[in-house]
Amino acid sequence: MLKFIKYLKQFRKEVFIGPVFKLTEAIFELIVPLVMAKIIDIGIANGDKAYVLKMGGVMVLLGLVGLGCALICQYCAAKASQGFGTVVRSEMFRHINSLSHGEIDQIGTPSLITRITNDVNQLQLAVAMLIRLVVRAPFLVIGATVMAVAIDWKLACIFFIASPLVALALYLVMSRSVPFYRIIQRKLDRISLITRENLSGVRVIRAFSRQQQEKERFLEASTDQMEISIAVGKISALLNPLTSTVINLAIVAVVWFGGFRVNVGGMTQGEVIAFVNYLNQILVAMIVVANLVVIFTKAAASASRVNEVLEMEPSIISKTVTPVQEKENAPKLSFDAVDFAYPDAGDYSLTGISFEAAKGQTVGIIGGTGCGKSTLVNLIPRFYEVSNGAVKVDGVDVREYPLSQLRGKIGIVPQKAVLFSGTLRKNMQWHHEDATDEEIWEALEVAQAAEFVRKMPDGLDTMILQGGKNLSGGQKQRLTIARALVGSPEILILDDSASALDFATDAALRQAIARFCSERENGVTVLIISQRANTVRYADKIVVLDDGKTVGIGTHEQLLESCEEYREIYWSQNEMEGARE
């Protein structure tokens, strides 16, 4: 947790002032019982009304000043803790942006999201508590004890017995109940798992008439959760009764032994009352400490989860920021004996991949699920680092490029059609912030999306909801294609990106892309990844992958002749035509 101190630096002032004022308030609070003792011992004993009024006024004054101090402290706490949270969130977001795919896969996106939201909130709460209470609560305990010692050290011995006993009670109860909260959470997760399964599998469950058994399964899980909650409740319910009993017994002792002290003239009656008040203050402060322990245990867990992200080193970074000079006459893209294994995976996902794509060529990559098609594509924009060999763009190893220059050359249409909330125009300007409406319309035209966008009442200003919920799958897919085309990339990668399109649209799209690419000055190099032979059969070159290896490279006709795997794929998908030919 200490590592987070640096994020508090810019709030140094608040972190310092807050506790100081809090302490001042606590001191005033400790003085109040003393003032009261004076009222009793001097005011009442002497029948001095003026003194009583004066001291009463002092009390109100103490309260007012205390209030002022407390407000200053609370404001400091709010400012420092919220500021701290803001800084950490921003830092995390920046760091996540710098991580490479490998690291993101390792933590997983859902977990990253909880860490940047919930975990940072926990830390923020801990900072607020740190400023507000961490100094105050122990100070009140110690202060009350010190005051008691100052009044009468013999009677104060009771404090030295009672305080550890209260602490022990707190420790015993909490150490036995806190670990169970995690178990309760796990049981609750199971309840939500069953619910989720029942919603996503509702058709299967009803098809097999299993509603009754599912109800029983749910009943069992929720009873389980109920029972453990009740069991833990039994332990944690002990906390308040135990501590208050200890304090009440201590009060009994104070009054009894205080009687002896008063009897011999060692103490006054008012001082005994002050003792009782201090004991009550200790009880309240101890319970605050107990809550603090819970908050900080949670915060420590969050801190390590946040730290794990912040300390993760991005494995892929630009070697240089100055743009690299491309080699002329080199192939646009080449794979040179590339091997690749995912981090922490034993086996290579790709082995010995070599092929070239000239400027303006269209290359198809085909193979079954898990053969490494998408993996191969991910190496081009350097999302992952090759294990051996090299991927070159314009004759230069991708590792030599500044990432922005390399990725600026490439337009990718990912498998999953993802759009972001905001206007359609903004989505189209992702690659090139200053793309004009004309460029956007041209890209939409090519992507077969212009027609439906034109029909939208707001055109390019149409708001897209989170996850593109207000669009159909096919519309989303066409828009992601258009997004990649805006700004004319030098290399266009289509990763199985036409699956949601009907066949006529798909065909029109392929023709339009071919036209678009050949019209560009130097031609656009296109990579089409697919499981369907018909999608890639008109490519200039087809690379057939099987289990991470190239098993054939050539044109459709060549491969039908020479490549067993290609034939298998092709015929299984085109039986009918096979019979005709």
Partner: protein
């Protein structure tokens, strides 16, 4: 929410707590006892102090019984406090369990249309979060409210009985606490609402951008994302500081009000002592009360806001419970074990939304053993047919008959078990491979399970899994491939030996070899059984007895392959673009 509705919701929650009413009653009695005893202690302490006046004037004989009484009171108060918490826990957790089960059971019974039209996340959140907030706010809150009120009442009672005049001073100051508490509650509530709006915006942004980090990188959007993020993040800071500050005012302000009450009691109490008729010990008890007096006001105002959230949550929970269940099976419903497989679809009309008619006047007669192919572009509504056949949805008008028996005359579960259904959207639950296969027939023997797996060409890959049939599949079956999942679904359907079949052929994401296996398994399953196939493969389509061509949710053509080709309609067009790429 008007008052009447609120009390209705409260009543319904109490009706759920009814079976545990004894615990509730015990909790209330314990609360009353524990609070009274706890508050009685200061009186005893005060009396004790009155026995220790000054040197030589300490009356130990009187002190002893008082202190023994104090010990007894302290222990009893603690005991009842413990009992109160235990009983409250019992009521709370048992009621929560019952509520959860009630909502879940209703989810199992409501028509599919109600599940399809809702976000699953929303239903889950009602079962988990909303019920939790009902438990925190209403049940725990209720006990806090109760103890708070009796604490105030008893404290006031004790104070007034100790010394009426000084007690009156406290009563006069009471509105001050109320005012401060409600003022703060109101302001911080507004701030919190604004804060949670910005918070929601920020998490939405994080979810989108972090969730799609790979796209962000592909387009070099990192810098712009950081800028947008920081803007929202800063807004959150501004509103967060205010929200936190306002809400953290509660403690200092109450402490101040408390201090004022304390000082007032000190002054008036001391003056009364001087005037006589009021002892120092009684003053000490009074001071203890003054210290405790304002705290419950705070708690109560906190509880009131929590109660409001809880009522809103309860409303959302009851909304699910109040959903109408599926129409029960007809009284004279038949429950056939198997059937011939003759299906008549007679003038059926159906739509999900009355404004958008989908299936209109659809007629089809399927003889036992025939194969019907459903063909059309993705998203054309082929699942609608499955919904109607399985009676996941009811027709708007017209009738579907199985072996001449209208489906509405057949028990839903009986009707559904006549079909074996394998969807492309495979569903696995967290459990072993064996349990997943035996889902439709939990009492199946190992031999039966293995036989079904073999018939579905799944046995060999299952044996290669780390624990074979005992391998635990994660939620959504993430540890096996999509194609393997479909093989398991086929085995699951085969095990129940259905009379008719509904199959959904794979389109993509399945490697060629697995696809061939699935195809073979499908082929064997369909032999001699009436089957409906959502078809993508030409061979399946060509061998069908009837093809239904669907587009935009409607059945636009119907006939055999040859007939449809001759029509030169949409099927003709589809056929040539999908299966026969013209070599231009």
């Amino acid at each position: 929410m008007d008052m009447e509705k609120r009390s209705d919701i409260l009543k319904r929650i109490l009706s759920f707590a009814k079976p545990h009413l004894w615990y509730l009653a015990a909790a209330l009695v314990s609360a009353l006892l524990s609070v009274s005893l706890t508050l009685y202690a200061p009186i005893l302490i005060g009396r004790g102090i009155d026995e220790i006046l000054e040197p030589g004037k300490v009356y130990f004989d009187n002190l002893k019984p008082i202190l023994i009484g104090l010990i007894a009171v302290a222990i009893l108060a603690a005991l009842f406090q413990w009992l109160m918490t235990l009983c409250t826990n019992m009521v709370t957790y048992k009621t929560v369990r019952d509520l959860r089960v009630a909502v879940f059971n209703k989810v199992e019974e409501i028509p599919l249309s109600r599940i399809d039209s809702r976000s699953h996340g929303d239903i889950i959140s009602r079962i988990i979060n909303d019920i939790d907030s009902v438990s925190d706010g209403l049940l725990q809150g209720f006990s806090q409210l109760f103890t708070g009120i009796i604490t105030i009442a008893i404290t006031l009672g004790y104070m007034l009985s100790l010394n009426f005049k000084v007690g009156l001073v406290v009563v006069v100051l009471t509105p001050l606490s109320l005012f401060v508490a409600s003022f703060i509650a109101k302001h911080s509530f507004d701030m919190f609402r604004r804060q949670s709006a910005v918070k929601g915006q920020l998490s939405g942004y994080i979810e989108e951008l972090v969730g799609n980090q790979k796209v962000v990188k592909a387009f070099g959007y990192e810098e712009r994302a950081q800028g947008e993020f920081d803007t929202i993040n800063h807004q959150l800071y501004e509103v967060g500081v205010k929200a936190q500050f306002y809400s953290s005012l509660t403690n200092p302000c109450t402490r101040f009000v408390n201090g004022v009450v304390y000082a007032a009691v000190a002054i008036f109490g001391a003056l009364s002592c001087i005037a006589g008729g009021f002892s120092v010990g009684a003053l000490s008890s009074f001071l203890t009360y003054a210290n405790q007096y304002t705290k419950p006001f705070n708690e109560i105002s906190g509880v009131v806001t929590e109660l409001q959230t809880a009522l809103a949550s309860a409303k959302r929970v009851f909304a699910v419970i109040d959903e109408p269940a599926e129409e029960p099976d007809a009284a004279d419903a038949q429950y056939p074990q198997n059937c011939e497989g003759q299906i008549e679809i007679d003038h059926v009309h159906f739509s999900y939304d009355a404004a958008k008619p989908l299936i209109q006047d659809f007629n089809l007669k399927v003889q036992p053993g025939q194969r019907i192919a459903l063909v059309g572009p993705t998203g054309c509504g082929k699942t609608t047919m499955i919904n109607l056949l399985m009676r996941f949805y009811d027709t708007d008008s017209g009738e579907i008959r199985v072996d001449g028996q209208p489906v509405k005359q057949i028990g839903r579960n009986a009707l559904r078990s006549l079909y074996g259904m394998v969807l492309q959207d495979t569903w696995m639950f967290k459990g072993s491979v064996r349990e997943n296969i035996a889902y439709g027939k939990p009492d199946a023997t190992d031999e039966e399970v293995i036989a079904a797996a073999k018939a579905a060409y799944a046995h060999s890959f299952i044996m290669r899994l780390p624990q074979g049939y005992d391998t635990i599949l994660t939620e959504d079956g993430g540890n096996i491939s999509q194609g393997q999942k479909q093989l398991l679904c086929i085995a699951r359907a085969m095990l129940t030996k259905p009379s008719m079949l509904i199959l959904d052929e794979a389109t993509s994401n399945i490697d060629t070899r697995t696809e061939i296996k699935i195809q073979k398994a499908f082929g064997e399953m369909m032999k001699g059984h009436t089957s409906f196939v959502v078809a993508h493969r030409l061979s399946t389509i060509r061998e069908s007895d009837c093809i239904l061509v669907m587009k935009d949710g409607q059945i636009i053509e119907q006939g055999t392959h040859e007939q449809l080709l001759k029509q030169k309609g949409f099927y003709h067009q589809l056929y040539y673009s999908q299966f026969v790429q013209t070599a231009s």
